[in-house]
Amino acid sequence: MDLGLAQNWFFLVISLVMVAASLVVVTSRNVMHAALMLVAALAGSAGLFILLGAEFVAGVLVLVYIGAVIVLFLFGVMITRVEIGRSRSLDHANRWPPAFIAVATFAVLAGSAVAFFGDEKIGGLDTVRTSEIGTTIFDRFVVPFEVVSFVLLAALIGGIVLARKDPES
């Protein structure tokens, strides 16, 4: 089969799965289903990254998001005792203003993207080697890299300080 056609079919399947999973994330009455459908949406985006030749980012996404962040979310759901199982009070009563804002945002973003880029093609399948990403991080982006690692450290310490029970009380 033609490579471009195969890529388009993969894109179609992955994007349909992602949009369906995202809709379940925002509409589900069951908190566990919402968190697990986020896994499906993020796994779809990892598939898209592989389609775009960004294997390292796809691997990091699977490790960090699906491996760690989702587990953290499940802990959050269980600790805060949101009613696991169906519950009626998860959403606001008035759902039309948010829907209108979301549709308007989509119309503006997608319309401007299509109007500006039309059908300009993305080049064929050649991957960026991981060594090039490493070289870029420690060459052009070394200061942002250090800053982001400091942010992560500060956030972890802050999380521990916030969530710890106060010893005096």
Binding site: V25, F49, L109, V114, I122, A155, G159
Partner: protein, 101 residues
């Protein structure tokens, strides 16, 4: 594959995330929707990195930065939600009206 495909998909996921942030009452679910929006931005970065044929992979590096910052955000966000839950016995954001007058 055209670049517009990826941009439209990312716009769809971003709008779904906005809807989720506005409609949900529970703080954990709001954070889940924020994750959707960040994932949409990541798709844009990687697609443009490929489209512009950036051999230094700057877009992918920025996607990695976003993943890191999102992990930090989830960690501290869930700690705050836990604290709110401990103080108010509820994680619904519309009940947090202490600063409203």
């Amino acid at each position: 594959m055209t670049i517009a495909q990826f941009l439209v998909l990312s716009a769809a996921m971003f709008s779904i995330g906005i809807y989720g942030v506005l409609i949900r009452r529970n703080a954990v679910l709001v954070l889940l929707s924020v994750e959707l929006m960040l994932a949409a931005v990541n798709i844009n970065f990687v697609a443009f990195c490929r489209f512009l044929e950036d051999t230094a992979a700057g877009g992918q590096v920025f996607a990695l930065f976003i993943i890191t910052v999102a992990a930090a955000e989830v960690g501290i966000g869930l700690a705050i939600v836990l604290l709110i839950f401990r103080n108010r016995a509820s994680a619904n954001i519309d009940e947090l009206d202490a600063l409203k007058w």
